[in-house]
Amino acid sequence: MSSIETPDIVVIGGGNAALCAAITAAEAGARVLILEAAPKPYRGGNSRHTRNFRCMHHGPLGPLVDSYTEDEYLADLLKVTGGKTHEGLARLAIRTSEDCLPWMEAHGVRFQPSLSGTLSLARTNAFFLGGGKGLVNAYYRTAEKLGVQVAYEAAVTHLELTDDRIDFIDYTQDGQTHRVAPKSVVVASGGFQADTDWLARAWGPAAKNFLIRGTPYNRGVVLADLLDQGVEQVGDPTQCHAVAIDGRAPKFDGGIVTRLDCVPFSIVVNKDAQRFYDEGEDVWPKRYAIWGRLVAAQPDQVGYVIIDAKSLNLFMPSVFPPIKADTLEELARKMDLPAEALVQTVAEFNAACGDTSTFHPTELDGVATTGLTPPKTNWARPITEPPFYGYSLRTGVTFTYLGLKVDERAQCAIGNRPVSNLWAAGETMAGSILGQGYLAGFGMTIGTVFGRIAGKEAAAHANAI
C-alpha cells in the first residue's frame, strides 16, 4: 500500500455492498482502501453469482415493466419471512431501491430484459447484463477511476475495538501481517457459510455434507471477531438460505447452473429409495428454498430425483446431464440406490396416480395422488416411460443470516451505543432486516442500499475529523 499510507476509510470485502460503499465514500472526497480476501479472478464474493436485484418502481423503469409499489414489495417480503421482518429497515431498503437503479447505471452497471425462463420476474427484478460479475467489474472500474485503492488477497483477521471505536485493522497479504488505522471502517464481508466447521457447530455434523453455492472466501472471520468483542448481533447461526442443488456440484462456487428445477415433475427419494415430501406442493419458485432443508434432514444429506422421458423437457436445463437408464433397476444401480425398493416406491406412486388429462406444467393443476403418504398434490403423473432419468440432490447453502445489528444509518452498535466509526452493509447485516426466509433479488437490494448509506456515513465521519 505504498500509494495510500493511511486511508480515510477501509472497506472490508470486495462484493456489491463493499463497492457501493467505496464508490459513495470516494465521491464524497474520502481516500478509500478496499481489502478483498479473494484473488482478483475471484473478487466479488457472492455478488459475482447474482443475476438481478428487486426494485420498487412507479411506472416502467429501465428494464422493468408496469409498477411495483412499496406496499406490494413489503407484502411479498412479509410473506416469505413469516413476519420476522424489521419493518422500518425493510421499508427503507424498499423505498431507496427505486433510486438505486439509475445510480447503478450511472456507475457502469448495465441491465437487460428478464432472462428467458424468468418472465415472472420481469416486473419486480432488474437483471444485470452479464450477471453479477459484469456488475462487479463495472464497479471496480468506476471505483478505480475515483482513486479507490484495491488490495486483493488481503484477508482481514482482526479489528481492534476500544470502547466504542475501531482503533486499527489487521490483515494478511503475501504471508505478512499489516496494520492500518483508518478514520472509518465499513464491514461488507458477507456471511460465514464457507466455514463448514462453524456451520457444523450450528447444524451438527450433517453440515459437512452441505455444498456452498457461492464464494469460498466468506468465512465469517470479521463477523466472529466483532461478535466476540461484544458488537451487537442479530439472528442466530442456524438460519441460512439453502436450496437443493445437483449433488455433483463443486463444493464451492457452483453458482446458478447447479440449480435443478425438475422436482415438481418427479418423485424424490432418499438413499433408501423412500419418498419423504410432497414434490408437487406448489409452483417451483415458491418451493425451491425449502428443499435444501428437506434434503439436509435425510440420511447422508442426499436425495434422488427420478423422472421419466415425458418430463425431460419441462424444466430449465442444468449444468450436468441427468443419469439415464432404460429400466428403473438399471437407474437404481447407476445411482447407488436399492433397486428393489426403488421399483416398489415407483410402483406404489404410480398406482396412486389418477386421471392425468388435466396435467399442466406451469400451473397448480391438481393432478394428485390418492391414498399415498406423503401425497403428491400436483403434477402427479406415473413414472412409466423409459428412458428414466435421475439426479442426485444435495443441500446448497446460499448465505447465512447471523450478522451485525445495524440502525437506519447502517451503523453497528455495542451495548446501546453506536460504534462511532463502524458501519456494515450487505449480507453481513441482512439479518437486521430479515429474520428468516428470503425474497429473490433482495440480497443485492440490501447491499446496494446499505452499502451506499454506509459509504456516505463513513465519509461524513472521516471528513469531519
Binding site: 448495465r110 437487460q112 430484459p113 428467458s116 450477471g131 446458478i256 436445463p317
Partner: protein, 353 residues
C-alpha cells in the same frame, strides 16, 4: 467432412453450461439462439460459432472462467469451431486447410502475386497505352483479374451452400436477407448489447475501438471495390478509359476507401496485438495478422500508386499493388476475409429463427 470432434465437444460442453445460466443473454445474437435449444448438434454449434464475433463480453462477465473448474471461455470455444468450419467448408478444402491458420503461406502467396505481375509486365509488356496501361495492357489485366475475381465468388458460393446444409437452414427468403444486412451494416452486435462496445483492448473495459476499426475496414474495402467497379463501367460502357483525374468518381471513391482501409487495418492490428490471445481461435493469430496486413497493404499500395503514379516508381508500384490485389482475391475464400460471407449467412439463418 467430419470436423474435429473435440473442438465441437468442448463448445457443446460450454454451451450447455451457458444454457443453464443465461446471464449473458443480452450481449449478442448467440445467446437467444443458444437458449432456444436444449441439445446442440454439430450444425447448431457451427451456426452459433458463426454468429459470434468474438467481442469477449461473455468472457469477462463469466463467473466460471478459469481457474474455476468449469473453465468457461466461450469466445475461444466458438472461435475454434468457427475457424474449423471455415477450413472444412472451403472449396477446395485443401486450400482452406493450407491458409486459414498459416500467416507464412499467406505471405508466400502475396510474394508470388508480386512476382507473377512483374513477370507478366516484363514479358508481355504493353502494346502502348497511357498511364498504367503503358506498363500492362488493359487486356492483360483483365485476363489475369477476371478469373482471379470469379474463382473466389464461385468458391464462396459453394462454401455457403455447404454451410446452409450443415446448419440445416430453411429456404432463404428476401426478408431474412434484409434483416441480416441491416444488422451487418451497423455491426449492431459489436456494440455489445448495451451500446458500450466490446472488451477487446483492455480486459473488461468496454470500448468502441474494434467496431470503429472494423467499420473503417469494411466501408473502406467496399469503397475501393466500388471505385474499381465504377471504373470498369466507365471503361466498357461509357468508353472512358483510365487514367482518371483526381476529382473523378473512381479516384474519389478509391482515395477515401483506401485511407479508411489502411487506417482501419492499422488499428485492427494494434487492437489484436493488445487483446488476450487466449480468447481467440487457437493457432489462428498469425494468419489473422497476416491477412489484415495484406488487406492494409492492398490499400496502402493503392494509395501510393495514386500519389506516385506520375513518377518513375510507378511500374514497380503497379506490379506490387496488383500483385497484392491478386493474392487478396485468390485468398479471399481461405482467409479471415471469408468470415464476412459466413457471418452474413449466419445472420440470415438467425433471422429465420
Amino acid at each position: 467432412m467430419q470436423m474435429q470432434s473435440d473442438l465441437l465437444q468442448e463448445a457443446r460442453r460450454q454451451a450447455e453450461i451457458c444454457n443453464a445460466c443465461r446471464y449473458c443473454e443480452g450481449y449478442c445474437s448467440v445467446f437467444p439462439a443458444l437458449h432456444a435449444e436444449r441439445a446442440f448438434s454439430d450444425g447448431d454449434l457451427t451456426q452459433l460459432a458463426n454468429l459470434c464475433h468474438n467481442c469477449r463480453g461473455c468472457y469477462y462477465a463469466c463467473q466460471y472462467t478459469a481457474p474455476h473448474e468449469f473453465e468457461l471461455n466461450l469466445p475461444q470455444a466458438l472461435a475454434n469451431v468457427r475457424q474449423e468450419s471455415w477450413e472444412d467448408l472451403a472449396f477446395p478444402q485443401v486450400a482452406g486447410r493450407a491458409f486459414q491458420k498459416n500467416g507464412v503461406a499467406i505471405a508466400v502467396v502475396a510474394v508470388i502475386g508480386f512476382a507473377v505481375l512483374f513477370w507478366t509486365a516484363k514479358s508481355l509488356g504493353s502494346e502502348g497505352g497511357e498511364g498504367f496501361y503503358a506498363v500492362l495492357s488493359h487486356n492483360a489485366m483483365v485476363a489475369i483479374f477476371l478469373p482471379a475475381f470469379l474463382f473466389p465468388l464461385v468458391s464462396i458460393a459453394i462454401s455457403l451452400r455447404r454451410y446452409l446444409k450443415r446448419v440445416d437452414a430453411e429456404p432463404l427468403k428476401p426478408a431474412h436477407l434484409v434483416k441480416a444486412l441491416k444488422q451487418a451494416a451497423q455491426m449492431r452486435n459489436l456494440k455489445g448489447g448495451h451500446g458500450d462496445g466490446c472488451n477487446f483492448e483492455d480486459e473488461d473495459r468496454f470500448t468502441h475501438a474494434r467496431r470503429m476499426a472494423h467499420q473503417a475496414v469494411m466501408y473502406g474495402f467496399l469503397l475501393c471495390f466500388t471505385s474499381t467497379s465504377v471504373a470498369t463501367v466507365m471503361h466498357y460502357v461509357l468508353d472512358l478509359p483510365a487514367p482518371y483525374g483526381l476529382f473523378s468518381l473512381p479516384k474519389l471513391l478509391g482515395l477515401s476507401g483506401g485511407l479508411l482501409l489502411v487506417l482501419g487495418c492499422v488499428e485492427l492490428i494494434r487492437l489484436k496485438l493488445r487483446s488476450d490471445r487466449a480468447l481467440g481461435a487457437q493457432g489462428a493469430f498469425g494468419a489473422e495478422i497476416a491477412f489484415v496486413g495484406l488487406l492494409g497493404f492492398v490499400g496502402l499500395s493503392g494509395l501510393l500508386l495514386y500519389a506516385l503514379g506520375q513518377t518513375a516508381a510507378m511500374p514497380l508500384l503497379l506490379a506490387v499493388h496488383l500483385g497484392a490485389v491478386l493474392a487478396f482475391f485468390l485468398l479471399t475464400p481461405f482467409t479471415k476475409m471469408a468470415h464476412g460471407f459466413y457471418r452474413l449467412t449466419a445472420l440470415v439463418v438467425d433471422a429465420q429463427r
